[in-house]
């Protein structure tokens, strides 16, 4: 009797991993990929056999197959990255090894990679990820965030408007409301929301009209400024893999009170002073504060019982600092000599 499919899958996983470990160089990777992960490869053949099984067995075999597929894919990507790391020249510079394989490994966008990194850091601190619409109701982008129509902060925002009266969201803060109301969240909760935002501005090396922000908010019985400081310190230290210092300064945003700006010690010059930090030794990273009672009320949360912090910061900025990218317009440029460099 032939062995069950699940066992075959396990064997294949082991064999594939061994073979991958033995791959000596970048050129051996493609044949491996074709053999194990390709459309006519060994894993694909086993997956095809899954449809022969009965329903319950199909489900577990399918799950296993997909876990293995994902594992092998990630291992493959990682191995390719290792070879690339050892390559002295920039990733794109030299091609033309043996006559071309069907394809070489593709690359993920540096913002995607930064968001993955951020999600990883925050998940370990107990945060869940929420998402929201890009085209928003002005009530969610402004009014319910305590920015009424006549507020100067509203006049100063360069907002894209649609003909039907909606706006392209100018920050990720609306997701605070969306997440709480749509997911029926009750405190205590910790949520992050990375995503695209829009400001009608002319573009230059440090400004884009389409960019990415990370919103984070944490509400509980005694969530304090001290907790906020701890979360931010861990966030930046983990993201940049260095111990950084942060500095809070008073600032103002209508949806928080007290409001702060958070500066991080410049990781480029270690606070000696450089062009990136404008010779101040500090980098402005995010706006933050304790969630305003009006906003809590709009989330149907009792502000006399619950309190918490919220912050919003640029993700493009983080990626630029991490990867030494000097022009924010590269992220939306589609230039392959840029996109190929980060994974």
């Amino acid at each position: 009797m032939t062995e069950p499919l699940t066992e075959k899958l396990q064997h294949l996983r082991t064999e594939a991993k061994h073979a991958l470990d033995k791959a000596a160089d970048q050129d051996s990777l493609e044949p491996w990929r074709v053999k194990y992960l390709g459309r006519k490869g060994q894993l694909a053949r086993l997956i095809k056999d899954i449809s022969q099984l009965d329903a319950p067995a199909r489900k577990s075999a399918g799950q296993l197959a997909n876990t293995i597929k994902q594992e092998l894919t990630q291992a493959f990507t990682a191995r390719a990255a290792v070879f690339r790391d050892h390559h002295s020249a920039p990733a794109t510079a030299l091609s033309g090894a043996s006559l071309p394989p069907a394809s070489s490994v593709g690359h993920l966008h540096p913002i995607t990679l930064s968001i993955r990194r951020i999600q990883h850091i925050f998940a370990r601190m107990g945060f869940i990820v929420a998402e929201g619409p890009l085209v928003e109701d002005p009530a969610y982008n402004f009014d319910l965030l305590n920015i009424p129509l006549h507020h100067p902060a509203r006049a100063e925002t360069d907002t894209f408007h649609t003909a039907s009266g909606s706006v392209l969201r100018t920050h990720t803060s609306p997701v605070q409301l969306r997440a709480v109301l749509a997911m029926n969240l009750t405190p205590p909760f910790s949520v992050i929301s990375p995503g695209r935002v829009f400001r009608s501005e002319s573009t230059d090396a440090s400004h884009e009209h389409t960019f990415h922000q990370l919103e984070a908010f944490m509400v509980g019985e005694r969530v304090t400024v001290a907790d906020f400081k701890g979360v931010v310190k861990k966030y930046f230290s983990d993201f940049f893999e260095q111990n950084v210092t942060t500095r809070l300064r008073p600032s103002y945003f209508p949806f928080v009170e007290p409001g702060f700006e958070v500066d991080m010690s410049c990781i480029i010059c270690q606070q000696a002073g450089c062009s990136v930090c404008g010779r101040t030794g500090w980098l402005e990273m995010m706006g933050a504060g304790m969630v305003h009672p009006n906003v809590l009320k709009n989330m149907n949360i009792d502000h006399t019982r619950w309190q918490g912090f919220a912050f919003g910061g640029g993700i493009d900025r983080l990626a630029m600092l991490r990867h030494h990218i000097d022009d924010v317009r590269l992220f939306m440029s589609g230039r392959l000599d840029f996109l190929n460099q980060f994974s």
């Binding site: 990929r33 459309r39 997956i47 399918g62 799950q63 997909n66 994902q70 990630q74 493959f76 990507t77 990733a91 794109t92 091609s95 033309g96 071309p100 394989p101 394809s103 490994v105 593709g106 690359h107 993920l108 995607t112 990679l113 993955r116 869940i128 990820v129 929420a130 929201g132 619409p133 085209v135 109701d137 969610y140 507020h151 100067p152 902060a153 894209f160 408007h161 649609t162 039907s164 969306r178 829009f198 389409t210 005694r222 304090t224 400024v225 400081k229 701890g230 809070l248 008073p250 600032s251 103002y252 009170e257 007290p258 991490r322 030494h324 000097d326 589609g334 230039r335 996109l339 994974s343």
Partner: protein, 778 residues
């Protein structure tokens, strides 16, 4: 806002801190402040009197001005139209450093202008580096001692620049406000500016007609015995430090008080007013007014005007009218000191593109009680100059009061995560000029009149924490309990799909959410206008709608890279994908009238592109455990029209797919199982050279044992950073030997390479290959 350090010292006699310490103090406790520069007059500049003027013999627009320092006289050439005999003016002798229109300094020499030698010159504010004004000579007040150095009467000052946040615009757009802030932070005393006592309001002054406009307060004071002459130098110095141009003491006093107290006032020339009854009303559509800047403004019913006998004499809260402004012969005036609805002022200033220091303050909201102080301050200064008050009117139907805030001081510690004793809380609030009634457990706290931002307990908590210093709050290490299910199905599926596509050789790109007409044209797509979402203020006319498909953008990106891609025919030249949202009008979305759908799309360009796409799409469907035969439910695959791509000079096929990702997720027959990753190593971006590359071909014959890697390695090692790419485009076996043909891309990161540079390195490479590999060059 610009802040004069000298002015702060006057308001804070006990201030010991240096300007940069003030900047740091305010930045860490109030708002971002920095030291912006110095304001000083070159000590070589002297005070001289004009005693004679005659036209220049050889130039129409020039004059010869004879000036004296009290002992001797000299004659200089001057082109300014505003000089008169008897005036005191600044004179720079040769050797004085002055400033030109770009702010660059230059040293003046004795020059000959149209045949007349000029030993130095008379100066405008700009030349002295004090203000951009350059239309005429700076006329000095007549009380300055003749022949002295101007710097003796104009103390050097340091200028600070503060970014006042909107919640502090009510009280801190003034030197008094900043001084009070510093006083609260450093426990100093403010020396309040002296104010005049005003006579009781009387009927001898105009009444006011308001209709149903909401004007919180309107105060008017009549003055006689006014003289429109240059202000005392110390007053002019403070105006210049604030970035304002001095005119004459009447206008200057109102501006000075605005920068000092924060409340704008306006002085009309009484005799030019067309009547008696003051009013504030909406303009009529099309109503025109010539303002003090001599521009004609066309108003609408959304704009407010100040009227006399219903005739508009000023754009309320923004700028006075030219016809009723102070002029050199003004002897009596009407001072307006009022409070206007912030939003109306903001809207008008925006619409007319006329933002002034006054409108900036009104638009952010001011305390009507401030009017009392600013009016009495203007009166004090005018009275000091010899003026007399003829009457006072004060329309203030509903005096404004700050709310009483019920405040539990323990909430401060609760918010901060740091223990702060109630005594300390009280002390800080009192230093901030709050009234604190702490008799009950729940305190009753009232903020000062000008602090329009103190309304609820968190406002008070912010005050206490920022005065103590946010750095005093410790950092509490977060409790590391990982979320059990941090990622939704959607997020997991998205990441799994990304990994799948990358493993299949697709590189991820991001495109704008706007559709781009030229890109639509490139792929032969059109937007369905009936469901398109239109942006009313697009970034460009071609990006007026939100995208309905990802393909045009992906194709546009592919084309953008065309020149950089390999020149040989590979089975797959390049594959790009994007996961992102498309937008249409509709009812099924979260936001009314908007439907956002996530799509996944990609392009594969090359001979095998179509197979590549088909295989990848199969893999995607497999991932969701969706049957491959169901493809049409989720999207489409296809080939870009041949004529279309040939038009872009793409000789190999372009295959594409686009799938409705939302639908895939909703139809998935299994659960996703994505494991969070750290997002890869922090690889550093290396910018490609901006200098042009040069391509040379190299064909060599080698024995079959020689590998391509060897050849490539030698080329790279020899060429070092001048070789940007080595691209094999041909290979064949012949008579026991192998022939290889490469495109070599020469490019320097530092400069454009010359032919000689390239010849030199190309020859070196050839000689190395010949020597090391016994290669024959074809």
């Amino acid at each position: 806002m610009k802040i004069s350090y000298n002015w702060l010292q006057e308001l804070l006699p006990d201030l010991n801190s240096a300007p940069k310490d003030i900047a740091e103090l305010l930045t860490l406790h109030s708002f971002e402040t920095e030291v912006a520069g110095r304001l000083a007059v070159n000590p070589k500049v002297q005070v001289r009197k004009i005693i004679k003027l005659e036209p220049h013999p050889n130039a129409d627009r020039l004059q010869l001005a004879t000036i004296t320092n009290g002992l001797e006289k000299i004659t200089v050439v001057c082109g300014a139209p505003n000089i008169k005999i008897g005036q005191l003016v600044p004179y720079s002798p040769p050797g004085t450093a002055l400033f030109d229109e770009t702010g660059q300094d230059f040293t003046i020499k004795e020059t000959t202008i149209r045949g007349v030698t000029s030993p130095g010159m008379l100066n405008s504010l700009r030349e002295l580096g004090l203000h951009p004004e350059h239309a005429g000579i700076w006329i000095l007040p007549d009380d300055l001692p003749l022949g002295t150095s101007l710097a003796d009467h104009f103390p050097a000052d340091t200028i600070l620049k503060a970014e006042i946040t909107p919640n502090r615009a009510h009280d801190c757009l003034s030197h008094l406000g900043i001084a009070r802030e510093i006083a609260a932070l450093l426990a100093l005393e403010v020396k309040p500016p002296p104010l005049a006592e005003l006579p009781q309001p009387s009927s001898s002054i105009n009444g006011i007609s308001l209709g149903d406009i909401n004007i919180p307060r309107y105060m008017a004071v009549g003055f006689t015995n006014l003289v429109a002459k240059p202000s005392p130098l110390c007053l002019q110095a403070y105006l210049l430090a604030s970035g304002a141009k001095p005119h004459n003491q009447l206008v200057d006093i109102t501006n000075y008080v605005m920068y000092e107290i924060g409340d704008p006032t306006h002085l009309f020339d009484d005799q030019t007013l067309p009547g008696q009854i003051l009013g504030v009303r909406p303009a009529t559509d099309g109503e025109k007014i010539t303002a003090l800047d001599n521009e004609v403004y066309q108003l609408t019913r959304d704009d407010l005007v100040i009227t006399i006998d219903d005739k508009a004499v000023a754009i309320a809260g923004i700028k006075g009218g030219a016809a009723t402004g102070i002029n050199p012969s003004t002897t009596s005036g009407l001072l307006e000191s009022a409070n206007f609805p912030p939003h109306a002022i903001q809207q008008t200033a925006g619409r007319l593109n006329l933002s002034t220091e006054a409108s900036y303050r009104f638009a952010r909201g001011l305390d009507p009680n401030l009017i009392d102080i600013s009016t009495r301050r203007v009166a004090y200064l005018l009275l000091t100059s010899g003026a007399k008050i003829t009457g006072v009117m004060d329309y203030y139907p509903k005096p404004s009061r700050r709310p009483v805030i019920k405040f539990d001081p323990n909430q401060v510690s609760q918010f901060a995560g740091l223990n702060i004793a109630p005594d300390q809380v009280k002390d800080i609030l009192i230093r901030l000029r709050c009234q604190v009634d702490d008799t009950a457990h729940l305190w009753a706290v009232t903020g000062p009149d000008d602090r329009l931002d103190l309304n609820i307990p968190p406002d008070l908590i912010e005050e206490v924490l920022r005065v103590i210093g946010l750095d005093k709050i410790p950092s509490r290490t977060p409790n590391i309990t990982a979320a059990s299910r941090p990622l939704s199905d959607r997020v997991q599926w998205r990441e799994l799909t990304r990994d799948l596509l990358a493993a299949a050789g697709f590189t991820e790109t991001y495109n704008y959410s706007f559709s781009h007409q030229p890109s639509l044209d490139l792929v032969g797509q059109t937007l369905d206008k009936s469901i398109a979402i239109e942006i009313t203020n697009p970034i460009s006319p071609e990006q007026k709608y939100l995208r309905q498909s990802l393909l045009p953008g992906i194709y546009g990106h592919l084309l953008a890279n065309k020149s950089k891609l390999g020149k040989r025919a590979r089975s797959v030249e390049q594959a790009i994908f994007e996961i992102g949202r498309i937008f249409t009008r509709g009812d099924e979305g979260i936001v009314e009238g908007i439907v956002e759908i996530e799509h996944v799309a990609g392009i594969s360009w090359g001979e095998e592109g179509q197979a590549h796409i088909k295989g990848t799409v199969d893999d995607i469907l497999d991932q969701f455990s969706i049957s491959r035969t169901d493809l049409s439910r989720f999207g489409q695959v296809g080939l870009l029209d041949t004529d279309t791509r040939l038009a872009q000079k793409l000789n190999t096929p372009v295959a594409f797919f686009e799938l409705d990702f939302d639908r895939l997720i909703n139809s998935a027959e299994r659960d996703p199982d994505y494991q969070l990753t750290t997002g890869g190593p922090g690889l550093k971006y290396q910018a490609s050279s901006k200098y042009p590359p040069v391509y040379r071909d190299l064909s060599i014959i080698v024995s079959p044992q020689v590998t391509i890697e060897q050849i490539q390695g030698l080329i790279e090692d020899t060429g070092k950073d001048l070789i940007a790419d080595v691209d094999l485009f041909d290979e064949y076996q012949h008579q026991g030997q192998t022939s290889y043909a490469f495109h070599l891309k020469y490019q320097s990161p530092h400069r454009t390479l010359t032919d000689q540079d390239i010849e030199k390195i190309h020859h070196k490479i050839i000689s190395v290959l010949t020597k090391e590999l016994n290669a024959q060059i074809r």
